[in-house]
Structures are given as structure tokens and as C-alpha cells.
Symmetry: C2
């Protein structure tokens, strides 16, 4: 299968972009292709990589806002999640995929429950995803055993889908919800299976304080001390990382997903120390977090708020300039996940979007990257291609109306049961 | 002239909304009308009020980002502004109006130069606006005299346009750029003309420190001490207001425009003290600020970032909940400007928008207001009506392509000359 995007703007020049199978095969020559897209007036950009989300939480969008963290989690989200059926996760993930396709995301790193159902949804929708069944053992060995069985079973089911687009990962929720034994078991499994590990780290001050009280160490140091850290670890949030922990993460090659909107909405109390992490050479990307704590999955918006928050927190408007925000959202996320994506380059995966700049908020064009970061939103995306397949064309995605209806119904039913 | 929007959702029920002239005349009955819009599946909301912007600065969108405030202003913006022609302001304001119409804003409070040209653009585009010629005398009486002549001449030209939609106001830039004598003269003129006064106040710590050093008073206190404050004053920013100043503003009945995105992008260093202002009963609204420091004029985005910043700054996710953010952006701004708008109510000005909620980011509908604030962007607006006139229908605005082209050309030329 081949696709030609003709007369499209790549890095500031009008050219032709030729896709063969799931890779960008050539940039420059006009070639025959099975599918030809007219790129005139449009700009090709790499698809975004959402480095931390809980996709099916779209079902809880707007269900529990403006609450303190413990009420939000304990009185609203957990009771509702306890009623989540596998089918709910299927429809919630499908809704998330639809929103991501429409706003230009081609890859996401997801942690939630019933992830075999999430995998089916991702397979149907055509995105690329790393899926981890969330492990929360609350220091109960019986519960841990059950969760490991579930996670391993889920990962086997995902493997059986036989698509390179979807890879299972391990998802220990956080150091305060997962025992040391389970963390070590996950380290072993991840080494054996060569899977990524997706964990929440240093999101709140309470997490840090409790870890200090219990272990005498801060969270990242604790994870290093037990031999858990590695270059396969994607740590979400990192709001409260101190310089010693940044050194630890850099040494281990662990990656960090910055989730500025969620951190602000839930008042995490500190902003991820972007500059220090960058200086230490830690690979970073951006995440929207789940729709219960954002509430949108629009990576354009997340780029902007990341830049705003970092400028505000550092007291310096030169911090996290537009180009760096754009790179975090594309190349940074791709490097963190170890995929050949995040830039438009021959040989890379054909994960890309076309944007139409003929809009008031993208006029004038003094600086396109600035426009993407500070002025665009997901609605500027015209075409989304993932793994060489056109998932959206002229703003239309197949089956959209049906997904909105089914996911809307599932969400209503779910909170009624909760 | 009359318009009926039939079968539209108003406050959660399907009904008919009847507009006669420039007012909402009836809600409930299906009536004959000159124009009939099909509102099925759509939701009517009040149009947004952008309480602080510099509309024509759309020409500088993306021209000078990620710089420290003094480089931004002194090396980039001021030299370019020195080359601004009246025609530039016309096209820059037209572009801003187009962006506002498309993203659901129906009224804006603007301060800039060549405002008679801005007024022509606003008249052509159909929005409601308060326009003030920016006064910057830098303590030079000669310069002050010239600026007053220009401002009074501009305001007379605006009056001659003979439209209630556009009202001249006075725009002393700030206490550090306008002398005490000029501030007092503006107070007199505003009293005489019954015009609003639009000023930047307490945006940076430097402004506060310099005012303290010079007068022994903080900025709001200084303005009170010279008899400048009144209930006709719209003070933009207010990041560094302290409790004594909040008391002063509340006593005077002055209004405050919160501009969270600009404050974060330029690292103002503090967030407007929303809770204390609210407790003191100060009327507040939201502003995007100009496109050189935001860079979009999308009030949906500004509602979200206002809620995010206030939660983050107060360390409490219950601060500035969705409903309050929505009210700031609509009713708050309308009260600040003294117009009968900001709510959908019989007798109010027919300044309203229709939103189509059948979109992934607005699904499910657990809480519509939460969806508008935390998940929507300007692209959700389907129809915009201002002063009873339909300015956008099905996302289309008359003359759009021409405005993009002309404004784009003007912006390119302008920075080439700078």
C-alpha cells in the first residue's frame, strides 16, 4: 500500500511526500501511489505523542471537577471505576482515540483497566499505543497475585492481536499503591519481555513526604535503591523531583512525561523542574493525563500550557520556548517510547498530520512553530495518518457519530450505576 | 428585523429564541421571523466578553515570543509599533474581529492606536466594542497635549460612526507611562463624556516597586489618592494587588480584567488574587490581552487557563470552578462594561452563540459548563450573533479569505519596515 501527498509543505518548502507501507519512503519526487492526497496549502507535521494518559477516562469527562484531590479520587472516581465494565473501557478508549485522531495525536501511552478491550478499540481506530494494565496492590500479596495474573493475561491477549502498532507495557500505578515486591517482580517481567514500564512518580508532595517517612528516601531515589529504575521507565508527572532525584533519573536513563494541565487542575503544588531535567539530559515528553483531570486530550493545548506553566514557575518567559514545546510533544515522546517517529524524515514511521494554516488564529505566519504552540488547537488538523493509514481526511473520521452515541450512552449508564 | 432560532437548547431545555431588532424579545414561543435558524441539537450561550485586548496586535502574532519582557517590548514590539499605519490597524483589527467571531466573542474592550480605523473595522465586522486610543505621555507635557488631541479627535470620529455597538473610552496606558496631570485630565474627560477608562494596573512587580519608591504608595492606592479611581475604571491584570489595594478597588467600584495567559507567557510573577477580589465584591472579567502576548483570542482557552492558574496559585483545586470561569467570561465582563449582555434573557442584547456539542471532546455531557470551560475551544462555535445580526452561520463568516490575505500582507510588510 502506498500514499502520495502531493504539493505539501514540509519544513517550509512545497514538496511531495511518499509513504510505502507504514514508513515515509521518499520526500521530494512525485510518484505513482495507490492513494493520492492533495497537500496544496497544507503543512505536514509529525503526529503528536501523548506520553501519559488514561484513555477510557473520557467516560468521566466533566463528572468530577473542581474538587480536592482526595474527594475527587475517593468519593467520585474510584467508586465509578469500580463499576467499569470491559465494554465501557472499549467505548471510552474509542472515544479517546477519536478525539486524538481529530486533534493530531498518533501515538499514546496509556495505563488503565481492562486493557485488552482498550487494545481492541485502538486496533479498530488505527492509532499506535503502549497499553499497560494498571497494577494497584495496596501492599496486599493476594491482590498483587491476582493483578499480576490479570496483567499477564491482558498482555498475552494484546500480543495475540498481532499488530506492531500496539505494544503491551507494565503499569505499576505508583510507589504508594504498589508494594516493593510487586515493583521488583515488574522489573523482572519488563526485562524478560522487553516491555516499557509506565508509573506515576512524584505527582504530589504527600507522595514525597510519605516516601521520606517510610524509607528515608525521596521517591526516585527509593526506586533506584530497589533496582527498579531503568531506561525503559516512563515516569509521569515528576512535579516534586529534587536535584538529587534528577541525577538519579538521568543516570538510569528513565523518561519523564510532563502533564501541566492535570498538575494545575488538581493543584499539584509544584511544576515539573523542566530546566534542570533538560540540563541533566533526561528525555521528556508531554502528556494530557486522563480526561477526568484535564479534560481534553488536545496536545496543542498541552504544548501551550506546558510553555505557560514553565515560564510562570521559573519566573522567566524564555523558559520552554515554542520550539522546545513542539519537540517535547513530538520527538521527545517518540524517543521516550523508542519509536521511529516524531519527525518527518525518510525511513520514519508514517505517523503524521496535515494542518491547514488558512485560519484567523494562524494568521499572520511570522513563525509557524509559534503558531502551532501558542495559537492553534486540535481543530486545525485536516488529515491524520498513522502507520501509513489515513485515519482522518478533511476533518472526517469513519464511524464518528456512532462512537459519540455509544460512548455517551456508556458514560451515562456508568455514572448511574456508581 | 427579527430572527427566530427554533428548537434550540437554552438552559437545558429545547425551546425557541426570538430576536427583535438587537434584543432577545421572547424565549419559548415559536414566532414568524425574517430569518429562521434551525437550532436542533445546538446550545445557545451568551457571547463572550473579552475585557482586555489590543486587537490589532494580531499583526504581531508569533513575531516576538519567548523573550524577556524588556527585550520583547523595547527591541521588538515598540519599534514595530512605531511603523504602524492607520491601515495596518484597520486590517489587524479586522483579523482580530474575525478570530473573535469564529471563537464566540461578541464584545471586546480594546486599547491601541489609530482607533478610528479600529472602529471602522469593528463597524464592518459587526461586533460590539469599547475602543480607547492608548495614551502614553512619558511625563512629557508636549507629548501629552498631542496625545489628548489625538484621543479626542479619535473619539469624535468614533461618535460620528453613529452606532451604539461601538463606544469610545479613555485609555491611559499605565501609571508608569502616564503623568499624574494626564491621569487627572482623563478623569475629568471621562466624567464629562460618561466614558469608561481602560488602564493597565499592577501587571508586574517592577510597576509596584517603582510606584512605592516614587509615591510611597502601591499603584491602586496611588490612583485613589489622586482621585482617579471610579466605577468606570477597567483595570487590566491586577497580578500584584495586595489586600489594601483590593479594598480600595472595591470601595471605588473599579473593575478588574484577569488575563491569565498573558501573565503566564510574560512571567508576570504572580497571579491576580481572584479569591480575595471576589470576597471583596470586585466585578471581574477575563481578557485575552493582545495576540503578541497570548497568542490567541480564544476565550474558551482563557476560561480554562484562568481556572488552571487560580487553582495552581491558590494550591486548591476548588478555586475558580467551571461555573465561575464561565460567568467571568460572560456576565462578569458585561457587568464591568455596563451592557445588558452576558446572559440569555428576554430584554438583553441579542449577543449570543450557538455551540454544537456533538464532538468527541464534548462527549459525554455529564456537565455542559465543565465541557465549555475545560474541554472546548473556539472551534465548537457554529453560529455567532451580535446586536441581533447573524455574523457567522455554520462556521462561515463573510469575506473571511480576503481578511486573512490582506491582514497577512499587512503584517509581513509591517515587520519588514520595522
Amino acid at each position: 500500500m502506498s500514499t502520495l501527498i502531493k504539493d505539501v509543505d514540509v519544513d517550509g518548502r512545497a514538496t511531495h511526500l511518499y509513504i510505502e507501507g507504514n514508513r515515509i519512503a521518499e520526500i521530494g519526487k512525485r510518484r505513482e501511489a495507490d492513494t493520492v492526497l492533495d497537500g496544496r496549502g497544507k503543512i505536514a507535521l509529525p503526529g503528536f505523542v501523548n506520553l501519559h494518559t488514561h484513555a477510557a477516562m473520557t467516560l468521566f469527562r466533566g463528572y468530577a471537577d473542581d474538587l480536592d484531590l482526595s474527594t475527587w479520587l475517593e468519593a467520585r472516581i474510584w467508586p465509578a471505576e469500580a463499576k467499569l465494565s470491559p465494554e465501557d473501557v472499549y467505548w471510552g478508549t474509542k472515544l479517546a482515540c477519536l478525539e486524538m485522531i481529530k486533534s493530531g495525536t498518533t501515538t499514546f501511552n496509556d495505563m488503565y483497566f481492562h486493557m485488552d478491550e482498550a487494545a481492541k478499540a485502538v486496533k479498530d481506530m488505527g492509532l499506535r499505543a503502549f497499553l499497560s494494565e494498571g497494577i494497584v496492590d495496596l501492599n496486599d500479596p493476594g491482590r498483587a497475585a491476582k493483578q499480576f495474573r490479570a496483567a499477564e493475561e491482558t498482555n498475552r491477549k494484546i500480543e495475540r492481536l498481532k499488530t506492531d502498532r500496539i505494544r503491551p507495557a507494565f503499569g505499576p500505578h505508583a510507589i504508594y499503591t504498589v508494594s516493593k515486591d510487586s515493583l521488583l517482580r515488574i522489573r523482572e517481567l519488563a526485562d524478560k519481555e522487553e516491555s516499557l514500564v509506565h508509573i506515576h512518580l512524584s505527582e504530589t508532595k504527600r507522595e514525597v513526604d510519605e516516601c521520606l517517612a517510610k524509607t528515608g528516601m525521596r521517591p526516585a531515589k527509593y526506586l533506584e535503591s530497589i533496582g527498579f529504575l531503568g531506561d525503559d521507565v516512563i515516569a509521569a508527572h515528576g512535579c516534586w523531583l529534587d536535584p538529587s532525584e534528577i541525577e538519579v533519573l538521568a543516570r538510569a536513563g528513565a523518561k519523564v512525561a510532563h502533564c501541566p494541565i492535570s498538575n494545575m487542575k488538581l493543584s499539584a503544588g509544584a511544576a515539573m523542574p523542566y530546566r534542570a531535567l533538560r540540563e541533566a539530559g533526561v528525555v521528556m515528553g508531554l502528556g494530557t493525563d486522563g480526561a477526568a483531570s484535564n479534560n481534553s486530550l488536545d496536545m496543542f493545548e498541552t504544548m501551550k500550557v506546558a510553555a505557560l506553566l514553565q515560564k510562570f514557575a521559573h519566573g522567566d518567559p524564555k523558559t520552554l520556548p515554542a520550539m522546545e514545546a513542539f519537540e517535547l510533544a513530538t520527538r521527545g515522546g517518540a524517543r521516550a517510547l523508542g519509536i521511529d517517529a516524531g519527525t518527518i524524515r525518510v525511513g520514519n514511521l508514517a505517523d503524521l498530520i496535515l494542518v491547514d494554516p488558512r485560519r484567523p488564529e494562524l494568521t499572520p505566519r511570522h513563525n509557524d512553530v509559534s503558531n502551532w504552540v501558542y495559537s492553534a488547537h486540535g481543530g486545525v488538523v485536516d488529515t491524520t495518518i498513522c502507520d501509513g493509514v489515513v485515519l482522518m481526511r478533511d476533518g472526517h473520521v469513519k464511524g464518528e457519530t456512532d462512537i459519540l452515541e455509544r460512548a455517551g450512552d456508556a458514560a451515562r449508564d456508568l455514572v448511574r450505576r456508581a
